[in-house]
Assembly symmetry: C3
Homo-oligomer: 338 residues x 3
C-alpha cells in the first residue's frame, strides 16, 4: 500500500498512476478471494461456494459501480463483456498453452466442467437476449430498461435458487470448483473475517481511485473507451484468475484450471451484471442496461460457443491454446479504434 499511495500522491504521470491502481486492485482482488476461501473452509466446501459467488466479484462490483457513478457506462459495458472474453479466450488460451507445452495433451472432460459450461452458456444467452431484442425487435427497443430489469431479476432468481444446492455438497454444486485440493486452512477464523472486512473496505477505496486514474490514462495513451473496458479493465480484474489458472495448468491439474476459468463468466452473467442493472437504477447512477453494443454481443457469442465446443472435446493441447489467444487478439484489435 505504501508504493501505491506514493504513486497516488506524487506527481507521477497519468499512466503510472493508473498502473499502480491496477496492481492495487489486482492484489486486493486476490486478498478478497483468499479471505473468502479461508473463511469458507471453516464451514465446508458448500459455504465456500456460496461465499465466493456472493463476495468473489466484490472488487469488480466496486469498480463498475464507481465507473457508473462517473458516467462511464460504455466502459462498464465493455468491461463486463471483456471480463467474460478474457476468461474464456485469453486466460483459457494461456492455460492450454503453458499446460500443453509442459505436459502435452491434457484432459479436461469431467461431468462438472460440462454441467458448468451448459449453465454458463444458458446464463450468457439470457444476458445478451435484451441486446438482441433491442437491435432487431423494434417494439422491445423502446423498453430497453424494463426488459433489462426483467432479465436481471430472472438471472438473480436463478442464482438464488442455486444457492441452497451449493450449500450441500452435490452434483448440482456450481461454485466450489474454485476450491483446489490439498490446500489446508492456515488462518484462524478471526484472521479470515478481519482480513475480508479490511480487504473489502480497501477494495472500495482503491476502486474509486482506479476509476479516477482511468480517464487521464485513457487520454494519455489515446485508447478508446471500448478498448479500455474490454481489454485493460478486464485483464486487470481477472489477473488473479489468470495466475491461478496457469499455475494449475502447469501443475497438470487442467480439470481444476478449466473449472476455475469457466466459473468466472457464469458468476458475471448470473450475479455481477444483473446486480449492476438493479443497483444503478436504485442508486440513481448512470443507467446501466443489458443492451450491449452489437460487436460486444457478437464477440461474446463466439467466445461462449468456442468454449462449449472445447469443453465437449474434452482434451486440450497448446495449439488450441494459441488459437484461443489468436481469436482474442483479433477481437481486441477490432476494438482498438474508437
Amino acid at each position: 500500500m505504501g508504493v501505491t499511495a506514493l504513486c497516488h500522491y506524487s506527481g507521477a504521470p497519468a499512466l503510472l498512476a493508473f498502473l499502480c491502481a491496477a496492481i492495487a486492485v489486482a492484489l486486493l482482488a486476490s486478498l478478497v478471494g483468499r479471505s473468502v476461501e479461508q473463511l469458507g473452509d471453516r464451514f465446508g466446501p458448500g459455504a465456500t461456494g456460496v461465499l465466493q459467488s456472493a463476495l468473489g466479484n466484490l472488487p469488480e462490483l466496486f469498480i463498475c459501480l464507481f465507473a457508473l457513478r462517473a458516467g462511464l457506462v460504455d466502459v462498464v459495458k465493455a468491461a463486463i463483456i471483456g471480463s467474460i472474453l478474457a476468461n474464456l479466450l485469453l486466460v483459457m488460451g494461456l492455460c492450454f498453452l503453458t499446460g500443453g507445452l509442459k505436459h502435452g495433451t491434457q484432459k479436461l472432460d469431467s461431468n462438472r466442467a460440462r454441467a458448468i459450461t451448459v449453465l454458463m452458456v444458458l446464463s450468457v444467452a439470457a444476458l445478451v437476449l435484451p441486446s438482441l431484442a433491442s437491435y432487431v425487435h423494434t417494439p422491445a427497443s423502446d423498453h430497453e430498461e424494463t426488459l433489462s430489469l426483467v432479465a436481471s431479476v430472472i438471472l438473480l432468481l436463478l442464482f438464488m435458487l442455486s444457492l441452497p444446492a451449493s450449500l450441500k455438497k452435490g452434483s448440482t454444486d456450481l461454485s466450489d470448483a474454485n476450491h483446489m485440493p490439498g490446500e489446508p486452512p492456515r488462518w484462524s477464523l478471526a484472521t479470515a473475517v478481519i482480513l475480508l472486512a479490511m480487504a473489502a473496505g480497501a477494495a472500495a477505496f482503491v476502486s474509486d481511485w482506479f476509476v479516477h486514474a482511468l480517464e487521464p490514462a485513457m487520454a494519455a495513451v489515446g485508447i478508446s473507451e471500448a478498448f479500455a473496458g474490454l481489454v485493460v479493465i478486464a485483464i486487470a480484474g481477472n489477473a488473479i484468475e489468470n495466475v491461478v489458472g496457469i499455475q494449475l495448468a502447469l501443475r497438470n491439474q487442467s480439470k481444476y484450471a478449466y473449472a476455475v476459468v469457466i466459473n468466472s463468466p457464469l458468476q458475471i452473467a448470473l450475479v455481477l451484471a444483473p446486480l449492476l442493472v438493479i443497483l444503478s437504477q436504485t442508486l440513481g447512477y448512470a443507467a446501466f442496461t443489458l443492451v450491449f453494443s452489437p460487436m460486444l454481443v457478437v464477440s461474446v457469442a463466439i467466445a461462449v460457443i468456442m468454449s462449449a465446443f472445447i469443453t465437449f472435446d474434452g482434451e486440450s493441447n497448446w495449439i488450441e491454446g494459441a488459437a484461443l489467444i489468436a481469436v482474442y487478439g483479433v477481437i481486441a484489435s477490432s476494438f482498438w479504434w474508437g
Copy 2:
C-alpha cells in the same frame, strides 16, 4: 364437447371463449396423437413413426391454415417458431426441473437422442436460411417467395426420403421415439381408425373456432400478435407434449422424455412449416413464406444451439431446467410489447 359448445354459444367474454377453444384444441390434439399411436401399433413401430410424422401435427396444421385464411400471417409465423421454442426451452426445462428435483442428475445421452438432435439442428438451419438471406443478401430479398418455396420443397423431400427408413425399424428411424415402452395396444383397429377420423374432423372444426376466438381475446387482453403466436398458441398447441414429457421425466425415463421433446421441433421444421408454405400458395390464402422476423430467428437459433449442447452434455439436473425456463422467460418478455 358440451362445455366447449356452451362457451361458444353463450355470451361468455372473449377471453373465456378463447380459453375453452384452447382446451378443446389441446384435448383433440391429444386424441389425434393417441389414435395415431394405437393405429400404428397394428403395423409395427415403423408405421407408427410414419403416421405420427404425417398426422401428429394435424391440429396445429389446421390452426395455422385457418389463421392464414383469416390473414393472421404474423401470428402463424410466431406460432411456428414459438412451438419450437416452447418444446426446446419450456417443456424441456420443466422436464429437467421436475425430473431433477425428484431423481437428481438424470442421464439423457443415447445415440438416438444425438442423431435426432443433429437432424433437428440441420432442419431448423434450412428453415431459417431464407430469413437470413432475405435480411442480409439484397438480391435474395426480392425473391422471398421463390426461395421459401425452394427450401420447403427441399425440406419435404428430405422428410419423404426418411420415410422408407422409418418403415423398417432401424438406427435411422427418426420418429418412433414417441413410442414409449410397455404400453400395450388396447383399442381395436376399427376403433382407432374411427376415432382418428372423428378427432381429425373435430380438430378442423375446433381450430376454426380457436382462430375466431383468438382475435377478440387478443384485443381484450391487449397482447401483441407476436406474443399471442409465440407464447399463447405455442403453449396451447404443445400442452400434450408438455404433460407427456413431464410424466416421463417424473418416472425417471428421461431418455424417452428427451426424445419426445426434441422430435417435435424436427417435425415442425421438416413437415409443418414447409407444408404451410405450399398450401398457402396453392389455396390462395395470405402468403406464408419462410421469412420470419429477425427476433424469431435469433431466438430459435439460441434455443437450438442450447439444446444441442445439452444433448451432447448427456446429463441434466434441475438447475439446467430452471436456466432453460429462465431463457424462455427472457425471450417471451422480449415479445410482450407489440
Copy 3:
C-alpha cells in the same frame, strides 16, 4: 493437355471452354496433391503434413490470385467461403450419404477429428471476425484493410507455430490426416520433385486460363458473380477432395474421410485466405480484405457449427448426409439471384 489446348484454341463456346479449364484445374490439383504426398513419404508423415499444408492449396491460390489481378474480388471472396461450405456441407454430405447407404451408421469419433474440428472452428472464427467488426462496429469499418491484415498475420503466425509440431509425429499433428494408411510409395524422389514442379507450373498456366474463361461463361449462362464463386469455383476446386472422401467413405474408412474433409477448411482459414490478403496488397492487385458479404458469413457460421455438432455426435448416417446436402442446396439457392 491436348484436349484442353484444343478447347482453348478452337472456337468452342464460352461454356465449353470454361468446362475444359475446370477439368484441367481439377486434374492438376490432383497431380499436385499426389506429388506432394509421394514427396512427403520420403521424409516421414510429419513432412507430408507440412508440405501438404504449404503446397496443397497451390492451384486454388493461383486461381484466386489471377482472379484478383482481373479485379474479380467478389468472386474470390465467394470462392473462399464457398470452398469451406462445399467441404463441410456438400462433400461431407455425399460421404455420409454414400457411406451410410452402403455400410449403415458409421463411426467418425476419433480424438484427432475432434481436435481438428476445434481448431477449424477457432480459425474460421478469427477469419470472419473482421467482417463482423466491419458490419456492426462503426469505428472498425473505417479500418477494414488494417484489421484484415492484423487478422491475417495472426492466422499465419498460428499456422507457422503449428509447423514444428507437425514435423514430429504427435498428437498435435494437424495435417497428416490426409495420409491414408496402406498406400506404399511408388515414385522415385526425382520423379516426385519433377512432377511437383511441372504440376505447379502447369497449375499457374491453367489457372490463368480458367479465370479468363470464367467471365464469358458467367455471361453466357447468366449467373451472378457470387454464385459463380460460391458454387462453381468451389466445386471445381474441391473436386478431388470430393472423390477421395467418397471413396474412403465407400471403403467404410469414415474416420479418414472425415479427417480429409474437415482438414481442408482449416487450411483455407489458416493459410489460403490470409496469404491472399497479404499477397494482394504486396502485388498491388485488387484489394482483398477479410470483409465478406454478410450472407457469406452467416452461411459459413451455420456450416461450421453444424459440422462441429456432427463431429461431437461421433456417428453419421445417410439421412444426416441428405440433410447436409439439403442445407447446402438452400444456401446455394440464396445466392442464385445476382
